[in-house]
């Protein structure tokens, strides 16, 4: 926190030396003390205002991710349903696939892009390991399979991707 009181002694009382009253020093001190307190109070208020503005933004983001996050299990289940159908094709199934695409798009527009990339190296910022497979021919820590896609990135991450990674047996 800045200390705004530091300037307070220099910018006042030009007549202080002209009037050598005994209690003048006391009064100056009291005045300086009060000015210091007042400046602190005003500074506190200003800082509080800034903190409020910041927290409001923070709360908004948090609320948004809470709401978006609550829908993720439904998107997941939609995806599971479709994956159980395999390559089957029917008008209904195609329609449901479109619904999933739409849902993923909505999440992306809200700022939570889907992350289901395989073949990339493990990154704890993006991935959560739920399984390990021994693979002698691959470097350790490559994403082999995404069990559950992640949504969002960086500070706007709803959840990391749940992944299966490779391990080279030594």
């Amino acid at each position: 926190m800045a200390i705004p009181a530091e300037q307070s002694t220099s910018e006042q009382d030009p007549g202080a030396t002209a009037e050598p009253v005994a209690s003048q020093a006391d009064r100056d001190e009291e005045l300086a003390r009060l000015e210091d307190r007042w400046r602190r109070a005003v500074a506190d208020l200003d800082n509080l205002r800034k903190r409020y503005a910041r927290e409001l933004e923070h709360e908004r983001t948090r609320e948004q991710s809470k709401v978006a996050g609550a829908w993720l299990p439904i998107v997941d289940n939609l995806e599971r349903a479709i994956s159980h159908a395999g390559d089957e094709s029917s008008a209904v199934l195609d329609g449901v696939r479109n619904i999933l695409r739409e849902a993923v798009q909505v999440l992306e527009h809200l700022g939570y892009p889907r992350d289901a990339e395989t073949g990339v190296p493990f990154d704890p910022e993006r991935h959560e390991v739920v399984g390990v497979v021994d693979q002698p021919d691959r470097t350790t820590g490559t994403i082999l399979d995404v069990i559950r896609p992640g949504y969002g990135e960086g500070s706007r991450q709803l959840r990391p991707a749940a992944v299966v990674v490779s391990r080279r047996k030594e």
Binding site: R80, E128, V129, G131, P160
Partner: protein, 626 residues
């Protein structure tokens, strides 16, 4: 001055809080979470991860991911050989028999691991607060011995923190509830966390906290409750489908998440639905798990876990030579104390005492540590004591209701104002009745003073603007001013004894308002409905006068009849069910009574009184005629 923080360094999770603006505030970490897993990982390529990131890679790196360091800190290897078997990483004997973790051929002391967690908490908090965190109060379980306390202090030093003090977790909880400021009391702290259970009995009072006895179970916590629910769901599914979900890691993961969610929901609801579609598949196609879990079933499944809490509580009570009736306060700490059956057990063991859990049980220890940090830094006592208005202040407005201008508990000094208007045409004066209290009707509140603002220029009702200003200075002296915005004429009153009510009187007034709230609300709504009716009747009348002969005769006749009805209803203080239909009829009529487009356009500056809206968009309330 640097902020001092309080840190709850937990076995599974840690929390950091700071003293901010006169109260302890939990600081989220860089990932935005309020708790940070006490986990540190050393990856294959030499990277070090702390917290959530470390936990995410633990399955792939079981030997390099250190958790539960708190179980080993300050201990000798021969004391913790059992614990060492339960973890996935290697615990070895170091110099002088101390416990050490071995990762990729390098030995780490438990305090080094805890230091990493402390460092992350302090760094993230520093970023959040905008200043470096250098000093901290760290909590430890009450049963920690000197070696464990010193090792925890060392962890703080390794993390670059000056450890202002090591305090006991139950003590911190008592501080968070401000119990140290109360009189002498015996306090039971019941702490059921994710994986450990601690009971402490404290002597609290006059700024001193003394631990009289502690007991616990180092391997009992919320995770055990989850496990029971997982087994129940999996067993049931296996009976119906012949498939054991526990043998499928993916399905098991989903089961654990669903079980935790169900457990949380059962803390506030009597039953919950577990819904896991496409949990698995066999030759017959996909399988879904759908089950309703009743709270009674959950209680049944976990009854023995809850019973296991009983022994330590009794033990602590007998060690402290305290009976159930001697306990003055019960504090609940740890997320698992949200489980209703756990709370019921605590009540049973403490002669029916209602336990405290108004402070978030996951955060209460860190909050208390922050209070201690604030006290040690002298910030707590340095806080300027700010006064508040004990009761709301306001004026009486039309229909005998109180319009609040300053709400109770507003910090003073304060200045608030509101604009009012007249209730009658050509009203020459307004009466300002200054009221104090929480009730809706003026007559149920205290009259602090009254005065009248005279010589208002003749004008139709609703047009004069009278600003009423309430100003309370730092000494609690209230000054009420009414100013006619048209003539700038002013009248004011100073009331100095508005705060000389003692505490019990204030409490009584507040509780009276609370108990009458519903009735008062009904009365206020009735008054407001009548005011609205009166206002629309007036507008209709006015419109009729403006239209003169251009109004259709049948409209005029109907309007006059309705206005008369309305006046009658207002006079008789009719209930809303009679008033509201009249209001809407009049509003419809008013819309039908549009003046011809070439008319005089009403001549009001802000368009007040036009259209169907009532004319109160700049005016909050109206004064009754004096």
């Amino acid at each position: 001055m640097a902020t001092a923080v309080g840190i709850d360094l937990g076995t599974t999770n840690s929390v950091i809080a700071a003293w901010q603006g006169g109260e302890p505030v939990v600081i989220p970490n860089a990932e935005g979470a309020r708790t940070t897993p006490s986990v540190v990982a050393f990856t294959e390529n030499g990277e070090r991860l702390v917290g959530q990131l470390a936990r995410r890679q633990s399955i792939m790196n079981p030997k390099g991911t250190i958790y539960s360091a708190k179980r080993f800190i300050g201990r000798r290897f021969d004391e913790i050989s059992e614990e060492a078997k339960a973890v996935s990483f290697d615990v070895v004997e170091g110099d002088g028999g101390a416990a050490r973790f071995e990762v990729r051929g390098k030995k780490y002391a438990p305090e080094e691991i805890s230091a990493q967690v402390l460092r992350k908490l302090a760094d993230d908090a520093g970023k959040f607060l905008g200043e470096r965190v250098r000093e901290a109060v760290i909590t430890v379980p009450a049963y920690f011995n000197d070696a464990q306390r010193n090792a925890t202090k060392d962890a703080g030093r390794i993390a670059g923190l000056e450890v202002l003090r090591i305090i006991n977790e139950p003590t911190a909880a008592a501080l968070a509830y401000g119990l140290d400021k109360k009189g002498h009391e015996t306090v039971l702290v019941f702490d059921l966390g994710g994986g450990t259970f601690d009971v402490s009995l404290l002597d609290v009072g006059d700024g001193v906290v003394e631990v009289r006895a502690t007991a616990g179970d180092s391997h009992l916590g919320g995770d055990d409750f989850d496990r029971r629910l997982v087994d129940y769901l999996a067993d049931d599914f296996q009976r119906d489908n012949g498939i054991d979900l526990r043998s499928d890691p993916q399905a098991l993961q989903r089961l654990f998440e669903a079980a935790e969610k169900a457990k949380v929901e059962l803390s506030s609801m009597a039953q919950t639905q577990v819904n896991l579609p496409f949990i698995t598949a066999d030759a017959g196609g996909p399988k879904h798990l759908t089950m309703t879990v009743m709270r009674s079933k959950f209680d049944d499944l976990t009854a023995d876990l809850v019973e296991r809490c009983m022994g330590p509580v009794k033990q602590a009570m007998s060690d402290a030579k305290v009976s159930a009736n001697d306990i003055d306060e019960v504090l609940l700490v740890g997320g698992s104390t949200r489980i209703p059956a756990v709370q019921a057990l605590v009540r049973r063991l403490t002669a029916g005492k209602d336990p405290n859990m108004s402070v978030n049980p996951d955060e209460v220890v860190a909050m208390g540590a922050a209070v201690q940090a604030g006290v040690l830094k002298g910030e707590v006592s340095d806080v300027l004591l700010l006064d508040v208005t004990p009761l709301s202040l306001g004026v009486e407005t039309r229909g005998g209701v109180m319009t609040k201008i300053i709400e109770r508990n507003t910090t003073i000094p304060v200045r608030r104002s509101e604009v009012f208007t007249t209730a009658e045409d050509n009203q020459p004066a307004v009466d300002v009745v200054v009221l104090q209290g929480e009730r809706e009707l003026a007559r149920d509140n205290r009259v602090l003073g009254r005065f009248s603002l005279q010589n208002i220029r003749p004008a139709p009702r609703g047009e004069p603007q009278v600003e009423v200003i309430f100003d309370i200075d730092a000494n609690g002296i209230l000054n009420v001013t009414a100013r006619d915005k048209d003539t700038a004429a002013e009248q004011s009153i100073t009331i100095s004894e508005q705060s000389n009510l003692d505490k019990s009187e204030v409490e009584q007034m507040v509780s009276e308002a609370e108990s009458h709230r519903r009735d008062d609300e009904v009365l206020r709504r009735a008054v407001e409905a009548r005011n609205e009716l009166d206002s629309v009747a007036y507008q209709v009348e006015r419109r009729l006068a403006q239209l003169g002969d251009s109004a259709a005769p049948h409209d005029r006749a109907r309007a006059e009849m309705l206005v008369a009805d309305a006046r009658q209803a207002v006079k008789e203080e009719a209930p809303p069910d009679r008033v509201q239909p009249l209001t809407s009829e009049l509003q419809q009529l008013l819309q039908g009574l549009q003046p011809t487009p070439t008319g005089d356009g009403n001549g009001q500056p802000s368009g007040n009184g036009d259209g169907s809206m009532s004319d109160d968009d700049v005016v909050d309330a109206e004064f009754d005629r004096g």
